[in-house]
Amino acid sequence: MTESLSPVVEMRGISLAFPGVKALQDVDFRLFPGEVHALMGENGAGKSTLIKTLTGVHRPDSGQVVLAGTDVAFSSPGQAQEAGISTVYQEVNLCANLTVAENILLGREPRKLGGIDFPAMRKRAAEVLSRIGVHIDPASSLGEHPIAVQQLVAIARAITIDCRVLVLDEPTSSLDAGEVAELFRIMRVLRDEGVAILFVSHFLDQVYEISDRMTVLRNGTLVGEHLSADVDRRALIAQMIGRDLGALEAIEEAAEKHQADGPVLVQAEGLGRRGAIEPFDLDIRAGEVVGLAGLLGSGRTELARLLFGADKADSGRLLVDGKPLHLRGPRSAIAAGIAFSSEDRKGEGLVADLSIRDNLVLAMQAARGWTRPLSRRVKDELVEKYVAALDIRPANPDALVRTLSGGNQQKVLLARWLVTEPRLLILDEPTRGIDIGAKAQIQHLVTTLAAEGTAILFISAELEEVVRIADRIVVLRDRHKIAELDGSASLDEVVELIAGGAAPEKVAS
């Protein structure tokens, strides 16, 4: 700990621009050995870009990166790793077709006679895994394991390098509470060994629990660097969103509930699919927000996919406006006014290489049919309207979707569905991996849409959010619908139902 006076990483005056976006402007950042340093900011603040500049994915347009006193300019993630900077990204960046052991050690595998020494490799992988308390067969394929376990394997990979700097970019978004505690234990061990840990999370509780110091970014510029103990939550949030806590009030406002008494729009009778979700009944009224609560794997997404026709039901039927609707696939659902915003925003829904404008226009045109082209003026008006309404940043319709942050991509995806003016909007984890400001905006949007008469099915892993926003809560457990509560239900009631007295489900195997 004697070195702790001089930073192990120092980034000075970093600037980086993408087409249409100034991602970083003159940002300074330092990281000391033996500390957990939280990088804070809203979506689009430049956190991921700064991290990728440090890890050699992006090269800065100007500025310098100093690692342990020497100037470095990494041109690939491999080089950064060799220099002792290892990274765990938000999305699991491993190869599902390889074994767990290979995913942990490939690139620095033990060798014998010029070839890979597989027994030694499996043994080392098992050691590393047991160091972080994961007990899976290192010889199994990575793809056989749930995402949470894959995330832990990614962390195992990161710590097998003799690393001086460990970057964790939202490692907790797919972990349950027990796994987070385990991760924090590992982080503390590494920190005490002198590793500098850069940590990004949208969960403020977690940030305050684990971090020693924090750097706040906003709109690609540095706002400040503090010791975590010196700054309280409200001050931190004010720094992150740069306005007078309006966003927090927006959340309070979102909690305002109303009794929906519109006509029943969508009605499921004994709808079910073997292995996905047991038959359930569900009514959704116009202008109502129905929340789905349940643990990961409880059948939340599966239920939504049945309503959208993405999977075929093998029992029951679906009625829209009281008339049976035979869903042959998503197209017929869309035709009936049902929209499904998937949790996988990258894989489904957005065309990353097109601009915001083109992505919105695609949806509009698809909704109208190609025989009725939209005029340029109407297009511009609509695009402007949604960019402003959802506060998509940058507010430049020509920016490529690829260059937007996760939260802003989510907003573009939402806008894509909104332009089709759906009657039932299914939102699957619309706020995952999104900062407070954007979360409040999306929640606010949900209540506004409901007030205008749109029916909403809201799925979120964050129970608090579901309880706050929903007029009615449907509780799922083990692929069964077990209860339906009205909007006044408390968080404790929902938690109790989900726990259900039975042993709590673990996400990990």
Partner: protein
Amino acid sequence: MTALAQRVPSRFLPVLATVILFVLAFGVGSVRYDGFASGQVIANLFIDNAFLIVLAAGMTFVILSGGIDLSVGSVVALSTMVTAAGLRAGWPVPLVIIAVLLIGSTLGLLMGLVIHKFDIQPFIVTLAGMFLARGLCFLISVESVSIKDTTFRDVATAVIELPGGVTITYNVIIALLVVLAALYVLHRTRFGRTVYAVGGNEQSALLMGLKTSRAKVGVYVISGFCSSLAGLLFSLYMLSGYGLHAVGMELDAIAAVVIGGTLLAGGVGYVLGGLVGVLVLGTIQTLISFQGTLSSWWTKIVIGVLLLVFIAVQRTMMRGRFRSLA
């Protein structure tokens, strides 16, 4: 099958299915035709398809990385042409061999570099390579050039006697050595595992700090090398060089690899699968020649059906397996 499916890891199932298919096809032949189930018939499978085994090994690398190499048939033809013309001009045999292997590897390297540096689909680049190599053949000679070199003829006609009176040629030994080398490289070296990683998820492989560019270019060098080596074996088999040799052989190689259980999307498959795939193709050919009355084009029809069935089976299996990843 279901009991078996539970005990064998699902990644081995496609290969296993191919092995079973091979055993079945061979079993049918043995029951129906006298003399089918002899060691020599099996040996002939290897002798007649040695070059295809080598091609399939190279192709496996490319397909595992998520690419495709359409140039291999033309490179085989070019190699036979260079061999024949070189020997006719009086070059010593070792020089000819080195020249042929160099040409094939260089062509592969060039295609790999173009694919990687300019980020162009392998399909297009290797299609261009296919036309280029085929055209180069006719630059050397438009006619078939026969090989009269005595050393070369001696090697071509030499037979190795195995216990039981079965004979094989040197071609078979070389082909099997190539398969062994490919097995080693793919499964025991960092390069080989990187090929799998790139085929599984290129972006992840890059972020894991693996040398993806080396793997992406390297597979085409390996395929080019294997194609030229297959060309040498084909020269030994045909004892001539001709620009119209090996027309469409790239498709046979791809078919063998796919029937052998390698996913066209990359990342999943085995060299041995390609070997068994070649043997399946060879067995079908032998069956049809034993049958006697069917035209040899029936081979193509059977291969077509098999290919369709295998791809459909793979697709269903992958759906089940990778669902958890979505």
